[in-house]
Subunit: 108 residues, 2 copies
Amino acid sequence: MIKLTKTFAALADPTRLRMVERLMGEGELPAGDLVSDFEMSGPAISRHLKVLREAGLVSQRAVGTHRYYAVRPEAMRAISNWTMDHRAFWAESLDRLDSLLALDPEED
Amino acid sequence: MIKLTKTFAALADPTRLRMVERLMGEGELPAGDLVSDFEMSGPAISRHLKVLREAGLVSQRAVGTHRYYAVRPEAMRAISNWTMDHRAFWAESLDRLDSLLALDPEED
DNA sequence: CCGTTATTTAACATTTACGTTAAATAACGA
DNA sequence: TCGTTATTTAACGTAAATGTTAAATAACGG
């Protein structure tokens, strides 16, 4: 089960957020490819990847000495589901507007 | 402008996540109402609210000595938008399934 | 087997986060 | 004005996060 606070904590760091975005855009990548993206030591990147992994945000696949990382769709879906669970709150005014425009143009 | 890493950091703490959820469910509440929710001192709650405020997640309204807090829909929308921006990645298989079921039942 | 490459783990320093209690502010009502 | 209530700020201790360099692992290709 995905713990939402863990997921959010993992994405709360700019380096990790960028990693996740790159992985979503390009798909699975080896750790080394991510190292060259950032002005940061290899070990630092490795630990960020570990945080992402432990949060369930990425998967790791070994091929020879390479470790391929990829974002786990379930994790992203969990965030999306959470926002959708509360959609009634945050989309309230937009919904009302939609309704008024689309269905119910009765008030002034 | 809402900084996504700040938003995620704010939601990365279980106490703050619960606060936000309660505020979304019940709407605007004074700080004191939130204090009684948690086994934690008033000052601790106050600081959590400050973190949420500085992240742009909640608004504060003063009425007498009370401070009413409410979740800012824009912040939630920002998260939702981010997930939607990457929907092509995480909803990929579901989309494909949807498409196949709905539109294009041509393959085996 | 050996040197090279890819990546992680260990050890360490520094900053940030978070909780506590005590004190400060500010509005309220007698 | 004074004591009470609501909330925040200050001061402090401790734990967690993050970066660094050095060392450990492990697969690769001669």
